[in-house]
Point group: C2
Chain length 292, copies 2
């Protein structure tokens, strides 16, 4: 007879969210990072959903996943739904008058560029808690609860993006080291300091400036740019300076430029905002203070 006693249950919401994130990134690890869990958790969620649906949604390859036909067909419905849910979440959060203001930024920006501006912003909005989350890749502002993000990106015409300054690079070092190469092009004997995630910087500048380097690959690597900056200040060698990140150090003389050639990387330090409908009321003023 099969008169079921219970209402038919939908799949677990968290599993759906995991699927949506994984489908958007086409990667379990990326989804895991976005949701602040381990990849194993995502894997389990997806499996739950697949068993609920009765068919696989991802094809697992050794070097990554891809969506199956079935998975493909769901992505737009799910994205729409979770967009709407993010909107609702934002509405919920914005009920609170002085909710925390969340900023996402590249670690180097968070450490070297932001503090000075943040001071002014805090002074302007003393009742609001500003919190800064450092991360390597920009979060989706339509999904996550960040009120703005600051990263190096290529400029686009979007009105949600406010460009602060071009990313310009040139070698810098401690004053005590400068004399050796003053005016000349002799980097051969110099220790070159590298940032892990900006490994191409030295060769980029070398090419742009037309200056030959002994070997642009060798030298200590740092996982955080600010560590490399500290080493450079201590006289450990030459560093490719991103000028906008070194305002303070150059101003105080803790670091000095080593060459007159300055190259653009093609990126810009830019503020990214959520869609207009979802912004916090303080946003515009905060942006103004960031620019100033």
């Amino acid at each position: 007879m099969s008169v079921a006693p219970k209402r038919p249950k939908g799949p677990p919401l968290n599993a759906m969210r995991a699927f949506e994130a994984a489908a958007r990134h086409i990667s379990f690890v990326a989804a895991a990072e976005e949701l602040n869990v381990t990849a194993g958790a995502i894997s389990q969620h997806i499996k739950t959903l697949e068993s609920w649906a009765g068919m696989p949604l991802f094809r697992r390859n050794a070097q990554g996943v891809e969506l199956t036909q079935a998975g493909q067909s769901l992505i737009s419905d799910f994205s729409t739904a979770f967009d709407a849910l993010a909107e609702a979440t934002r509405a919920l959060r914005n009920l609170r008058p002085n909710a925390d203001f969340h900023i996402a930024a590249l670690p180097s920006i968070a450490q070297l560029w932001l503090p000075k501006r943040l001071g002014k912003i805090r002074a302007r909005f003393p009742q609001i808690n500003f919190s800064v989350t450092a991360m390597e890749t920009p979060p989706s502002l339509s999904r996550e609860l960040f009120d703005l993000s600051i990263f190096f990106t290529v400029e686009d015409a979007s009105t949600n993006q406010i460009c602060i300054c071009r990313d310009e690079i040139t070698p810098v070092c401690a004053p005590s080291l400068r004399e050796r190469t003053r005016g000349g092009d002799d980097f051969a004997g110099m220790t070159l300091l590298h940032d892990q995630s900006w490994a191409r910087d030295w060769s980029l500048w070398s090419k742009g400036a037309g200056v030959a380097l002994g070997n642009s690959e060798t030298g200590p690597r740092f996982s955080l740019y600010s560590l490399a900056v500290e080493e450079a200040k201590a006289g450990a060698g030459a560093l490719i300076g991103h000028l906008c990140l070194l305002e303070d150090a150059l101003e105080t003389g803790a670091l000095v430029t080593m060459h007159h050639m300055v190259c653009e990387t093609g990126m810009s330090l830019a503020v990214q905002l959520p869609p207009a409908s979802r912004r916090r009321p303080e946003t515009d003023e905060v942006v103004t203070l960031l620019k100033g």
Copy 2:
């Protein structure tokens, strides 16, 4: 410095779902029923959400809840979001070729009216599992995973509603009891059987037919109409018969009508369908078989 290490977390999804349901029904109990949990669970979810938001969303009165200003302002965003999510869920479920087909129906309809039709439907779609869930109030077909519902409702012009027949009532009893009142209006000495949720039936008919009843309130009450029907068959007394539910019993002679007056209740036995975009492909044919 307040450099937060973790990404800002949204509120728990289940709490949001609970809020949405509670806000839609303006009742924790109704929400609990829809979500198949206890009211206590809803209460906690709402509390979680309120503490996340930092302000109350419901005002608790002794005889029910009402939304606060803040709660009011959220309802449309949340409804939109969960509508979209329901859509996505449906898409997910419809991936499976022969997924179960879920029917919601009033208990009396499920027991007395549906079985005969369901037999034909099962014969037509042998590979599909049809399951029937009995409930007192129609589910929201845009939220829950039912493929159609069958209830007594007032007719409306909606294309999602297919009217099967008018609800007509007249007293019935076992043949052995009929002689006493044959042709006459003497219900005074008769035991009147009542259905709990159709308590007004006897007085409705009495008024419509112009027949005085000794006391239309007294007599055994049954929580399920089909129990009352069984009692009536056994000769326990007179029952207000809903003709469309008694086709079988009248045909086989297990019950007979007691009076020539038949009243309409103003309701109709009607099939309700989900929005067109979300229907199962089998739906139209199933409806045809239900009508036939």
